[in-house]
Amino acid sequence: MTDAMRKSMTAMKLAFLILIALAMLFPVVLTVSNSFMSEEEIGRHYDLLDGGDTAAAGKNVMIRLIPETVTLSQFGEVLLKRPKFLLHFWNSVKLTLPIIAGQAIIGTLAGFAFAKLAFPGRDRLFFVYLLTMLMPFQVTLVPNYLVADKLGFLNSYGAIILPGLFASFGVFLMRQFMASIPDAYLEAIRIDGAGHLRAFIHIALPLAKPGIAALVLLSFVDNWNMVEQPILFLSEPFRQPLSVYLATIAEGARGVAFAASVLYMTPMVLIFLYGEEHLVEGIQMSGIKG
């Protein structure tokens, strides 16, 4: 292969990848750019969608990325005039934060046990954890519903947070991380006469920090977007998290939906960019058979 050939190959590869990357990015770009349009402009562009199937064929929504006038009016409307948005935003925070914290703590502890402690039936139990991780939420829906009902949790965040704390994904990911910590490190501190607890606190925990960061990120992404649990367990609309609220805003108030989406996305994207290398590391770990 000549140098020129290799170069043109690379260029082609690059062009193809950039094309795909742009396609990947397209929804975000569309959402962000449309969030700077005025409500009136959004209304004009998207009224066909709300017209339903009866609207005449031949007239179609066009993709518009450049606002006629850049304005922050959508953001103003969402943040200042619709306290509902803020209410649902904090609902999401209230649901997500305890789950993330709980998963991190419980997952780290159990991950350490699965990776570094010996007990009978360990791998079989871990396999069961893995299986439940694969089950869609609906499988244990009825009993979870009945348990929540019995415990008086129905219609409260407890019904969602409690099962969320124990989601097997946290345990799975932390076990993968803990397994990657060389035993020699742990043995070294144990020789000094320290027990498992000190080994965990002084060796495993600091080394698993990226893992915890990855878990926090992945768990945040997952729970920030939760849909099934709230729609089934929470009946009052004002308790719903932002994910469910935004789905309704898309229908009724398209004019501000883009800005609301951007605001919804912002914490996730910022945290994603902030912890990207941990996230990548975490994802890599989930794919490594320890």
């Binding site: 943040l79 005039k81 803020l86 914490p267 910022l270 960019l273 902030y274």
Partner: protein
């Protein structure tokens, strides 16, 4: 590269903190911001019970009956004994007249009567002559003339008697009833006109009356004959009993701004010894309407295709604090007076909106203090 990465992370960390701080601040301010942009309303809670129907008003007492006294002849007024507003008793002299002209007429008439007497004597003499001449036809004729003359004389006698009586009685105008002189239409030395009463006297026995105008809804519970207390504008103040003598539709005074309803003129009669015409009298009558319900001012009532409604305030406790919403509440009007209506459809403690800074519609969030 590493520092670059670190700087990026630092910036992102700041952005995350900034984002959450911003949203936190906006949440903290959300009620305030909302409050500033929400229509501000004033509310009131309805009073339970029947409608108070108040009729108040004042008027000037008018005599129910006036005795009008006329001069008996075209006399010059000699002396006015009672002035306007003087209290008089029956038989009191009011005005004396200079009856000289009538007396002269009487003199003349008496003279004429004397002449007729002389004429009579003369005719009697002629009669005797005719009777002696035995002219029967002439005698009859003479007899008839004599009879006619006798009748003339009788007329003249009555005329004189009349004039004498006129002078005797009419010379002094006397009060026919107890009462108050309300008008004297004469001046001393001037000839009293006969066309109009010289003195008018309000008759105590007949009493006084006054009228007020009231909203017909307010007056709906009033009946003719109802006894009422009437306050009199006197020193010291006192109140006497009166009764409603008349209720009739008042002529609508054009485009009256007060109410769209009709008005009633209510007349009250009062009888008392010491009343004066022109005295100011007040009445205030409170009644309760028969229908019970929630009382609301008529000004808050609005109307649409489904009937009358008011906006009530619904309180919703949310995580962002208490929020208030305007809710259309339909009511049925059971009764109304000038400014208040009794309605069904409201709860006793349900606050309704009386005023709002901007037009509101159903479901609007509002703020109220």
């Amino acid at each position: 590269m590493q520092t670059n990465m670190e700087r990026r992370k630092k910036t992102l960390g700041w952005l995350i903190g900034l984002f959450f701080t911003l949203l936190l601040a906006l949440t903290f301010l959300s009620n305030t911001i909302q409050g500033l942009s929400l229509p501000k309303v004033s509310v009131q809670k309805p009073d339970m019970g029947g409608l108070d129907l108040n009729v108040t008003g004042d008027g000037f007492l008018q005599p129910a009956h006036t005795a009008q006294l006329f001069a008996e002849g075209d006399w010059k007024v000699e002396e006015i004994l009672k002035k306007k507003n003087d209290r008089v008793k029956r038989g009191d002299a009011l005005v004396t007249f200079d009856t000289a002209s009538t007396r002269r007429t009487l003199q003349d008439e008496k003279t004429r009567y004397e002449q007729q007497k002389l004429q009579m004597a003369k005719m009697m003499d002629q009669m005797k002559a005719v009777l002696s001449s035995e002219d029967s036809a002439g005698a009859d004729n003479q007899k008839r003339d004599l009879e006619s003359h006798k009748l003339d004389m009788q007329v003249q006698e009555r005329k004189i008697a009349d004039l004498e009586k006129q002078i005797a009685e009419g010379g002094t105008l006397k009060a026919p009833v107890d009462g108050i002189v309300i008008n004297v239409n004469a001046s001393e030395g001037a000839v009293a006109s006969r066309g109009q009463p010289i003195v008018e006297i309000a008759d105590d026995a007949a009493g006084y009356q006054f009228s007020i105008v009231a909203d017909s809804n307010d007056a709906s519970m009033l009946r003719i004959g109802d006894k009422v207390r009437v306050q009199l504008d006197e020193e010291p103040r006192r109140s006497i009993e009166g009764f409603i003598s008349d209720i009739e539709d008042a002529p609508t005074g054009g485009n009256d701004e007060s109410t769209d309803g009709t008005n009633e003129t209510i007349t009250f009669d009062v009888t008392d010894a010491k009343l004066q015409p022109g005295l100011k009298a007040y009445v205030s009558i409170s009644n309760q309407s028969r229908s019970m319900g929630m009382q609301i001012p008529k000004s808050v009532l609005e109307q649409d295709n489904n009937g009358y409604f008011v906006y009530t305030v619904m309180e919703k406790d949310g995580p962002l604090g208490t929020a208030y919403y305007a809710v259309k509440t339909y009511v049925t009007i059971r009764d109304e007076n000038g400014d208040t209506a009794v309605t069904d459809g409201l709860l006793p403690d349900e606050p309704f909106i009386t005023e709002s800074s901007e037009p509101i519609s159903d479901g609007d969030r509002v703020r109220y203090s």
